[in-house]
């Protein structure tokens, strides 16, 4: 079943973009029609990461109701092996655009939520997309909460950092619970010693601490840092353990196995 997946976290630098890009790319590699939306308007990053030229329209324009959704979709399917479709909708990285997006009022945010919800009809139903990924800003931002409300499933990226654990717990209880969102947790940057502990034990621990199911554990890989932001591992390093972990997460999502 097609769905919108929001990738969110309490703190920054937890790996939201890394997860979104690689999960989307993996599903595309498996033959799915996927689009990833950069909804981090405060610090857009997909544009720099995917090194795309000649972007004419941004997600900002779609949310501002100044252009149609199809103008915003950039087809990058040629970068992914296989027959799937990989589209990207970029957030405008210009300083003026960032300033503009941070000064929107509540009515604009309400309409933006309507535009995000409308993607279920325009892209999922009419254009037969299988998955839309929303890469969001960390914390309790208007744009991120809009993304969460519009999504069918939310992936929460978190690390073992104490402030992250406490904040994520609070966010899950006081935000996600209220919206009754189906959620999967990804524990990122896990150190070697804990990563080798039994997966089922970790999974049980996560469920006790956060009260939500675990989608996956990602160990701390130096190669990810060494890649300096060249993030599509699925394409560049098909045999890397990280690629395999992402493939397992994608399989769980595709088979609706996150419980």
């Amino acid at each position: 079943m097609s769905k919108i997946i929001a990738v969110h976290s309490y703190k920054g630098g937890t790996g939201k973009t890394l997860l979104s890009v690689n999960l989307a790319a993996t599903l595309a590699k498996n033959g799915k029609k996927v689009c990833i939306f950069d909804l981090d308007f405060r610090a857009p990053s997909l544009f720099a990461i995917l090194k795309t030229e000649n972007v004419e329209f941004w997600v900002n324009d779609y949310l501002n109701n100044t252009c149609d959704i199809n103008k915003v979709l950039v087809d990058l399917s040629s970068r992914i092996p296989g027959n799937g479709k990989f589209f990207v909708s970029f957030a405008n990285p210009a300083t003026e655009a960032i300033r503009d997006m941070s000064s929107k009022d509540r009515k604009w945010e309400m309409r933006a939520l309507g535009r995000l919800l409308a993607l279920k009809e325009s892209l999922l139903r009419d254009q037969k997309f299988d998955y839309l990924f929303f890469d969001t800003s960390p914390g309790l931002q208007y744009s991120s909460i809009n993304a969460i409300v519009a999504a069918d499933f939310v992936i929460v990226a978190t690390t073992a950092d104490r402030s992250d654990v406490d904040g994520t717990k609070r966010m899950l209880q006081e935000l996600y619970n209220l919206f009754e969102k189906k959620t999967g947790l990804v524990l990122n940057k896990v150190l070697d010693s804990s990563a080798t502990a039994k997966k089922s034990e970790m999974s049980a621990k996560v469920k006790t601490v956060y009260q939500v199911p675990m989608l996956g554990i990602v160990p701390c890989f130096c190669e990810i840092l060494r890649a300096e932001g060249n993030l599509i591992f699925v394409q560049d390093k098909p045999d890397h353990p990280f690629t395999k972990i992402i493939a397992e997460m994608a399989r769980k999502i595709d088979n609706n196995e996150v419980n």
């Binding site: 945010e109 309400m110 939520l113 209220l178």
Partner: protein, 127 residues
């Protein structure tokens, strides 16, 4: 005449008629409740509070029972109390009361078409 009906029609159709009449009664009662709430017999469904945006922060600050209804109408855009009740799995009459409350608070608009009342989020014309 009623006796004739009982003899000639199958009980199911009589039950359907009863249900239909009950629904009509329900509609009338809703209108009466609204009039009582607004305290004005001439303006049936005029909200006494000004239009307010139904944004995510507003959703967050709502009591749980109203948020559930508001979330469902956000997803649908436009729906009857019955359609919302299907999503929330609560009784139609309950949803009808909550939807009318949201109209009264200025978050939703209500439109009658024949016997049906449609509720919707007015995203485009506000502001």
């Amino acid at each position: 005449m009623i006796k004739d009906e009982i003899l000639t029609k199958r009980p199911i159709s009589i039950l359907e008629k009863i249900e239909e009449n009950l629904e009509k009664l329900n509609e009338k009662m809703e209108v009466m409740i609204e009039i009582q709430k607004n305290g004005n017999g001439n303006q049936r469904s005029a909200p006494t509070l000004p239009d307010a945006p139904l944004d995510v922060m507003t959703l967050l600050s709502m009591p749980d029972h109203l948020r559930k209804t508001a979330m469902a109408i956000c997803r649908c855009g436009r729906a009857t109390a019955e359609e919302i009740a299907e999503q929330t799995r609560r009784a139609r009459a309950v949803e009808s009361a909550y939807l009318n409350q949201l109209v009264f608070m200025g978050y939703l608009k209500k439109e009658r078409k024949g016997r049906k009342a449609y509720f919707y989020v007015d995203r485009e014309t506000q502001g």
